[in-house]
């Protein structure tokens, strides 16, 4: 049995670079992903999707498909209407068609669901369904969605006469902002787009629904990031008893926000299983994933920033948010634009004002996804691009402008101009560490030398503060469910433990990290702590994993529940040692008598005692279990300083990311190896978003990036050897001093890369703005003075 004596840096009992416990099955190819699950009698569902972005459905003839051998059913909206399932509520309190009845409203929208003996047969039957469409003009440009002659997309909504998806949302103080601008000595203006992109996890979305008509139990296998919340939604939507629904997630091949929403395919699989009484599997292909599931971003932004005496003083931002055909964005109810108003950034501004308007377009629904921290990716991109734009105008080094404008360490906790209370940070130190690792002054020298030779090298910076770990129940709920998470800890008679959590890993290493938290708090070695997750029958209620909330919320829950057990153990130890609880002191794994340290009780001994017939302390029940639901007092506010070095080919305009330096401050790191891995992954996504990932449409609403041939994800050849650093400013309110980190690299990297590209081209070509993605063609156009936003 491992004890504190056997702890090493390789195998810490507590925080440290512990190798992952979950690796064992994955390196053997023994993971259980959705498509690996085969149930007896299982049938397959495949979705027929609309080829048009906007069209009336005149008729659907399913007779030939139904007659095809091996086809069990063909479900259309008419069938779902009888079950009350043709439409479903979305996380944003809108409704979304499960199967289109009256109209199709985006290319790829679900029109019919074929259920057959196997997937090949089901796909053959798709071709046999005859749908007659009457095409309608499509709204593709968000800026034109509210034009008086724009076609009405949501004619299903009573009283909606235009394509406004969500009323204007504001934050900050518009009058104070006007004053700041009036007094400024420098003002810059930019139109900046954060184009539509897609989380595209390697495993697509899918579900097996298995309804047992004899027991009324609905068993669901589904890779989703919030299983408890989904269970509640299905109970509500399908009129099923919540206690009779069990959702198991098993292993998930990546989420990145793509597996947060409830998709029509899920509802069809459930309906199919209820009606047919056999398990129904639906798993989408990659085109379906890219064309119909929750996309990310698509913010059209207009911004102004001002400075006075060398310091940034004000920011004004106006946003049109393209939500697609249904408003299904996922964010806390009180924040319809997510956390975008953190766009005030890391700076001690005098004033800021933000307004966001959401529109419908004839495109797939979504918007909040892809490691965005509820729109913080958009906010940080905007503010960090504007800071560079201002630095260009002021003719100062962009890092100097940031240093002069940062919130200072002594100003924390810091109340921002748009209502945030940042917890802790030492921004200048983090920035300096990035400069040190990068060798910033040397880079600038190298750039000057290269420029003299006609070589285009760019250095770009970004600094971000983000707010993660939603969140306090009084402010943050999704669909009325408080964003709190639970932890159940059971210490068995043998001293081994199981902690059940409501967070849902999709690769983040929860089976290791959460065991390490218990190990840190109780001294039980991580290999003796089983982390249970992904089963709504066996885990506490919580809102799941996205928005970098696992460590801030579930991690805190695990720390608190471990401390509850520890406090319980103290009382039991006092009884065992025939002393008073206040006479005991704790060292990891053991309560001992102060003043007589040889006399103590190890946690394993206390556990054995707790389950034995020996007398328990007054008022305490047997056993060594505890439960907690954690209500975070605030978000946590990690920050980071990123520096990117690019080389741009002067003739072909191809951009290569040569170096990327990332210094993150996420407070205390439970497992630095896992934290670093998360950062590598997010930085790679940033390279993709900045240089090549985009979902575009033509004027008729045809999606032009509906496969991995045209939705380009970076390979090992586009990603540099990332250079990481850290500063540690503990979170004052988190039990472990930890902050979230998973999304930070995706938040901070795109602006650093774009700033670097502009930096490479400004002096020689006068480029002062370019929108993503910085493909060779788009960079070349910018070099010719013809930078255009993407379509």
């Amino acid at each position: 049995m491992a004890t504190m004596d056997t702890a090493t840096t390789e195998r810490p009992i507590g925080f440290g670079r512990l190798k992952r416990k979950e690796d064992a099955r994955f390196i053997r190819g023994q993971g259980t992903y959705l498509d690996d699950i085969r149930l007896p009698g299982m049938v397959h569902g495949v979705m027929l999707r609309s080829p048009y972005a906007h069209a009336r459905i005149v008729s659907i003839d399913t007779s030939k498909a139904l007659a095809h051998p091996g086809v069990a059913a063909v479900v259309t909206a008419k069938d779902l209407e009888t079950l009350g399932l043709a439409w479903m509520p979305t996380i944003s309190y809108d409704t979304q068609a499960v199967l289109a009845g009256d109209k199709v409203r985006f290319q790829g929208q679900e029109v019919a669901f074929v259920i057959a003996v196997d997937e090949y047969t089901a796909r053959d039957a798709l071709a046999l369904i005859d749908v007659e469409y009457e095409p309608l003009p499509a709204v593709v440009n968000a800026r034109k969605a509210l034009d008086s002659d724009a076609p009405l997309i949501r004619d299903d909504k009573d009283g909606l006469l235009d394509n406004l998806a969500s009323p204007l949302w504001e934050a900050g103080d518009s009058e104070a902002t006007d004053r700041a601008f009036a007094e400024a000595d420098t003002i810059v203006t930019r139109d900046i787009i954060y184009p539509r992109c897609h989380p595209a996890p390697l495993e697509t979305c899918g579900m097996i629904a298995d309804f047992n008509p004899n027991t009324g139990q609905l068993d669901i296998y589904n890779g989703n990031q919030a299983p408890n919340a989904h269970r509640t939604v299905y109970a509500h939507v399908a009129g099923l008893a919540e206690h009779m629904i069990r959702i198991r997630c098993n292993d998930i091949g990546g989420g990145f926000g793509n597996k947060v929403p409830v998709y029509p395919g899920y509802v069809c699989a459930i309906a199919g299983s209820i009606v047919a009484g056999v398990p129904v599997k639906w798993i989408e292909d990659r085109s379906e994933n890219l064309m119909s599931t929750g996309f990310a971003r698509d913010y059209v932004m207009h911004a102004e920033m001002c400075s006075k005496n060398g310091k940034i003083t004000g920011l004004r931002v106006d946003v049109i948010a393209d939500h697609g055909a249904f408003d299904s964005t996922a964010q806390p109810t009180k924040f319809p634009a997510g956390f975008f108003h953190i766009v005030c950034g890391s700076y001690d501004l005098e004033a800021a004002h933000v307004q966001v308007k959401a529109v419908y377009t004839n495109k797939a629904p979504g918007g909040v996804a892809y490691r965005c921290s509820f729109r913080i990716t958009e906010a940080v991109y905007l503010v960090e691009r504007m800071v560079d734009a201002l630095a260009l105008e002021m003719k100062v080094d962009p890092i100097d402008l940031r240093m002069n404008s940062f919130i200072a360490p002594e100003q924390f906790p810091y109340e921002t101009t748009t209502g945030w209370t940042y917890d802790s940070g030492n921004y200048a130190a983090t920035m300096r560490e990035a400069m040190r690792i990068a060798g910033y002054d040397e880079l600038r020298k190298e750039q000057a030398q290269k420029r003299a030779r006609g070589e285009l090298m760019g250095i770009g910076t970004s600094f971000f503060t983000e707010g993660v770990g939603a969140g306090p129940r009084k402010h943050m709920d999704i669909l009325g469910l408080a964003m709190n998470d639970g932890a159940d800890l059971r210490v068995h008679p043998s001293g081994k433990a199981m902690v059940s959590i409501s967070a849902q890993t999709q690769g983040q290493g929860h089976e290791t990290t959460f065991a390490q938290i218990v190990a840190e708090e109780l001294g039980i070695p991580p290999e003796d702590v089983q982390v249970r997750h992904g089963d709504t029958d066996r885990t506490p209620y919580g809102l799941g994993t996205y928005g970098s909330r696992s460590t801030p919320v579930s991690g805190a829950a695990v720390a608190v529940v471990s401390r509850k057990v520890r406090d319980r153990a103290r009382l039991i130890a006092a009884t065992m040692l025939e002393t008073r609880a206040e006479d005991l002191a704790w060292e990891k794994g053991r309560w001992y008598v102060k003043g007589d340290p040889e006399k103590g009780a190890m946690i394993e001994e206390i556990a054995a005692y707790a389950y034995s017939g020996e007398p328990m302390p007054e008022g305490l029940e047997g056993g060594l279990d505890a439960q907690v639901i954690y209500d975070p007092p605030n978000l946590t506010y990690p920050c980071g300083a990123y520096i990117c070095v690019v080389d741009v080919d002067p003739d072909t305009a191809a951009v290569k990311v040569r170096r990327f330096i990332a210094v993150d401050d996420c407070g205390v790191r439970i497992n630095p190896m896992i934290v670093e891995g998360q950062i590598h992954g997010g930085l790679a996504e940033g390279v993709g978003i900045a240089l090549m990932e985009v979902i575009t449409f033509d004027d008729e609403g045809n999606c032009l990036n509906g496969s991995f041939m045209d939705y380009l994800i970076p390979t090992s050849l586009e990603c540099p050897d990332f250079e990481l650093g850290e500063t540690v400013t503990p979170c004052p309110h988190h039990p472990l001093g930890a902050k979230g980190v998973g999304e930070s690299p995706n938040v901070g990297s795109p602006p650093a890369i774009v700033n670097a590209v502009i930096d490479a081209l400004h002096a020689t070509h006068g480029v002062d703005h370019i929108d993503m993605p910085c493909t060779p063609a788009r960079v070349w156009a910018a070099m010719q003075g013809r930078a255009e936003p993407p379509q």
């Binding site: 190798k19 992952r20 979950e22 690796d23 064992a24 099955r25 994955f26 390196i27 053997r28 190819g29 023994q30 993971g31 992903y33 498509d35 690996d36 090949y120 595209a200 996890p201 390697l202 495993e203 697509t204 292993d251 998930i252 091949g253 990546g254 990145f256 292909d285 990659r286 085109s287 999709q506 690769g507 983040q508 290493g509 190896m673 896992i674 670093e676 891995g677 998360q678 950062i679 590598h680 992954g681 997010g682 930085l683 790679a684 996504e685 496969s707 991995f708 041939m709 994800i713 390979t715 090992s716 050849l717 990603c719 050897d721 990332f722």
Partner: protein, 159 residues
Amino acid sequence: MEVTITINGQKVSRDVEARTLLVHFIRDTPGLTGTHWGCDTSNCGACVVLMDGQPIKSCTTLAAMAEGHEIRTVESLERDGRLDPIQMGFHEKHGLHCGFCTPGMLMTTRALLDQNPNPTEQEIRTAISGAICRCTGYKNIVSAVRWAAEHEAAMKQEA
């Protein structure tokens, strides 16, 4: 039609359609769901297996085309309860997060080390450029392969 493929040294025979893709033939064989799929257009590499020692994309191969060839999947790496050094490397160096791309990466890099026992970082990056990882950013995968290369070299020295 009846198709017989040697998978991990065992003959597997099944009656399938001509259009059955190799990835599906493999995945429908009991115990062999370690080979995954992630796209429709032969880009992602989640389906990579070895055919006669060479990495191929099993989603772009008919099962019928694999008859008469030796297919090796991720399940073949561990022998007699001992992990292959490439598997150990991925664990040592945190070369996986969600694990979905991992079998394809393992088979690709196993073949690389078989051909080139001491690859440079650039050679490793080139070898895995036909496989997408959405989680790791590739850096630790490169480290994992280097770890395996050094470990195998050390084992050879000892032998």
